[in-house]
């Protein structure tokens, strides 16, 4: 078996500070991982490296066993690995909620019927009924966060990367997120400073500090084997 994504001996540094030397990480379908660590440890950068938004200065990135080198090599990976940005304002740019949710699947070249099906599914899942025609820039912080998650879910990623997904969520929306993660998704890596949250939704939690990724503790979530991280329970 090959992992979905594999980072081998990755080295990366910003001009002002070195981050990783010889970092290794493998993501498998069915993994529910948490990532915690001090500010500036490179958690977000790690996600950006996986998606090819930052290019590693040394080491290899493999997707389904294939070595990724050029920008174009990352296209298939980006279709199967979704990133939910830390700031939802970076993610939402279409006029209406509906347009933003449809942007990814339309780019994937899916038929309009299939796109409509996915929209309905995600809107139902996120409890965004009635939000379809709302302007994304007029939503509240919590609503924006849910829609940002939705824009990635409509692409049906096999693995989801979430960067601080709990920020500015109120209790109700937080419970919604917990429910979606626990019941409808099976493969993800979540960055958070909220250890209790991570323990609730992850099976394993890792600590990132000074360029080293170490096992931190077990979480309470159950492990699931699945090939698509997006599953709807009927």
């Amino acid at each position: 078996m090959t992992p979905l994504v594999e980072l081998k001996n990755i080295s990366f540094s910003y001009p002002e500070r070195p981050l990783f030397t010889k970092l290794n990480l493998a993501l498998w379908p069915g993994q529910r991982l948490g990532l915690i660590g001090p500010n500036g440890a490179g958690k977000t950068t790690l996600l950006r490296l996986i998606l090819g938004l930052e290019k590693a200065q040394g080491g290899e990135i493999l997707f389904e066993g294939h070595l990724l080198q050029k920008e174009k090599d990352f296209y298939p990976l980006r279709q199967k690995i979704g990133l939910v940005f830390q700031d939802p304002d970076d993610q939402l740019f279409c006029p209406t909620v509906e347009e933003d949710l449809a942007f990814g699947p339309l780019n994937l070249g899916l038929s309009r019927e299939e796109v409509a099906r996915r929209l309905a599914e995600v809107i139902e899942l996120l409890g965004l009924k009635g939000f379809e025609k709302r302007y994304t820039y007029k939503l509240s912080g919590g609503e924006k966060r849910l829609v940002a998650l939705g824009t990635v879910l409509t692409m049906r990623p096999q693995f989801l990367l979430l960067d601080e997904p709990t920020g500015d969520l109120d209790q109700k929306n937080l419970e919604k997120l917990l429910f979606i993660l626990k019941e409808h998704l099976s493969s993800y890596l979540i960055i958070s400073h909220d250890l209790a949250f991570l323990e609730e939704v992850c099976t394993e939690i890792f600590w990132l500090e000074e360029g080293k990724l170490t096992f931190f503790k077990e979480g309470k979530a159950g492990k699931r084997q699945a090939f698509s991280s997006f599953r709807l329970l009927n």
């Binding site: 993610q91 339309l106 780019n107 302007y135």
Partner: protein, 238 residues
């Protein structure tokens, strides 16, 4: 929402109207066009104060352009200012251009002003305007408001810490800091949004989900607009 006209009609009408008025050299066309503009502005319930303010701004630019015309057009002189001669023909010509521009502006403002940029961008997509142009327009507009918001936020933060804008060197320094912060932030924001688009499979084409549905009243408006445009065109060219 229900009584909304298909925005494509407004865009095509505005475009053809502007074309006729811009190429016509008859006062009757300008006069009638201006009346049409006033009527449309009235029908769209534009706020008089806001409209006048915006027109004043646009007309200031326009004035700078037409100001030279009375002096450079040959004809019967009225006033002599040193080496410059103000001609009757020149004055009329300047007035003509000025009114012409304002007529087009008024109709554009009345028809397209109340629509939001998203409707217009969608409509342009459906009218097969090149995707790059539509995106340029769309993002310029979308991020102008974002930039403004960002700047307001920075300015408020500065004011809350006791900054009061004055005409002094220290004030100018703060303004320059604010501007620099704005540029850096907007650049960062723009690149993050672009990355988010890349991650969702963006390859330069902007897919549109929402399609317009043609209603019977849209046919009515197109016929009415068409008759008016034919009338104006015959007035202008025949």
């Amino acid at each position: 929402m229900a009584q909304k006209r298909d925005p494509r009609i407004d865009i095509i009408f505005t475009f053809l109207f502007a074309l006729i008025v811009a190429t016509s050299f008859r006062w009757s066309v300008i006069f009638l066009g201006f009346l049409t503009g006033l009527g449309l502005a009235f029908a769209s319930r534009l706020s008089l104060k806001k409209t006048l303010k915006q027109f004043l701004l646009a007309d200031l630019f326009l004035l700078m352009v037409v100001i030279t015309l009375p002096f450079t057009t040959p004809g019967q002189g009225i006033v002599r200012l040193g080496p410059l001669v103000l001609t009757r023909e020149g004055l009329l010509f300047a007035l003509f251009i000025f009114l012409k521009a304002n007529t087009i502006l008024l109709v554009t403002y009345a028809l397209l002003g109340p629509k939001n940029i998203f409707e217009i961008a969608h409509a342009l997509h459906h009218l097969k305007v090149p995707s790059k142009l539509v995106q340029l327009l769309f993002f310029t507009f979308r991020y102008l408001s974002l930039l403004e918001k960002e700047f307001q936020k920075l300015l408020e933060a500065a004011k809350l810490r006791g900054f009061s804008p004055k005409t002094a060197l220290s004030s100018y320094r703060v303004w320059s800091y604010l501007l620099a912060a704005l540029f850096v932030r907007s650049y960062d924001r723009a690149s993050r949004v672009y990355e988010a688009m890349l991650l969702r499979g963006y390859r330069g084409y902007f897919p549109v989900w929402h399609h317009f549905a043609w209603q019977p009243r849209d046919t009515f408006w197109s016929i009415l607009g068409g008759i008016y445009l034919i009338f104006m065109a015959s007035l202008a060219y025949l």
